[in-house]
Symmetry: C2
Subunit: 149 residues, 2 copies
């Protein structure tokens, strides 16, 4: 049984967003932003539906959280995201000065660590939370897509 | 006299966008995207008005150009932008596979070159077009802001 309000709890919420993306034929990545144990933004990848490379889950979650807070800085906020952010999303998180990023699966090719993108010095990072669940969902998506083509 | 349809011509259009941002109290940065000598997107920084760190001129221009084209890749497109893109915007341009980026002023602190952000291998870059005009506008903005505080 999961205790509520720990990293696994919120990552499961991000995974639910990733599953919604999967159902829409989008690469299944989801994100939520949490402040004081409260989810203030939920988003999933919509690059295909919006035909927009900027419509990653993280970008939409940052915009939604800033709208909720009425300010553009995400201090005291934690983002839970099912895949390690890319250069663009890490660059946006840099500007947001977010307090903490928790991601599930690593992206060894396009992730911000491999690409050398800098986060804000105030930002703490935890990786590997529910990694298997997130990477299994991505693998299942790409296997199904391959079989369709 | 400027010949139309050269880099100076389009950078002046981007500078006009930067001036609109200036009038709104936004850091004055503008961008346009051009395909076949036609401007298909114009945008300026709106981070204050939208209270959104992702609302850089380049991000909005990428979204607008993809909407115009009906596809998410910006092949055969050139972005003209008055300041060297940051990590976030360079990361978005990477995903867009844009053909060419022309920027005016360098950003030695936060520009993608200093930060080590990777562009798509297909993307060509030209810097320094109307550099003085763009950096003078930015300097004037920051001097006026300092005097207001």
């Amino acid at each position: 049984m999961d205790l509520p309000f720990d990293d696994n709890f919120y990552m499961k919420k991000a995974l639910q967003e990733a599953e919604i993306a999967f159902e829409k034929g989008e690469v299944p990545i989801g994100a939520v932003i949490v402040v004081d144990n409260r989810i203030i933004a939920r988003a999933h990848n919509l690059t295909e539906q919006l035909t927009d490379v900027t419509a990653h889950a993280e970008m939409q979650a940052i915009t939604a959280a800033a709208n909720f807070l009425g300010g553009k800085y995400l201090q005291n906020c934690t983002m839970y995201v099912t895949l390690e952010p890319c250069q663009m999303c890490a660059g946006a998180l840099y500007w947001s000065q977010i307090s903490k990023i928790v991601y599930a699966a690593e992206d060894a090719q396009r992730g911000y660590n491999a690409m050398g993108t800098k986060l804000h010095p105030k930002t703490k990072v935890v990786g590997g939370v529910l990694e298997k669940e997130a990477s299994d969902l991505l693998k299942r998506f790409f296997i199904e897509r391959r079989n369709l083509n």
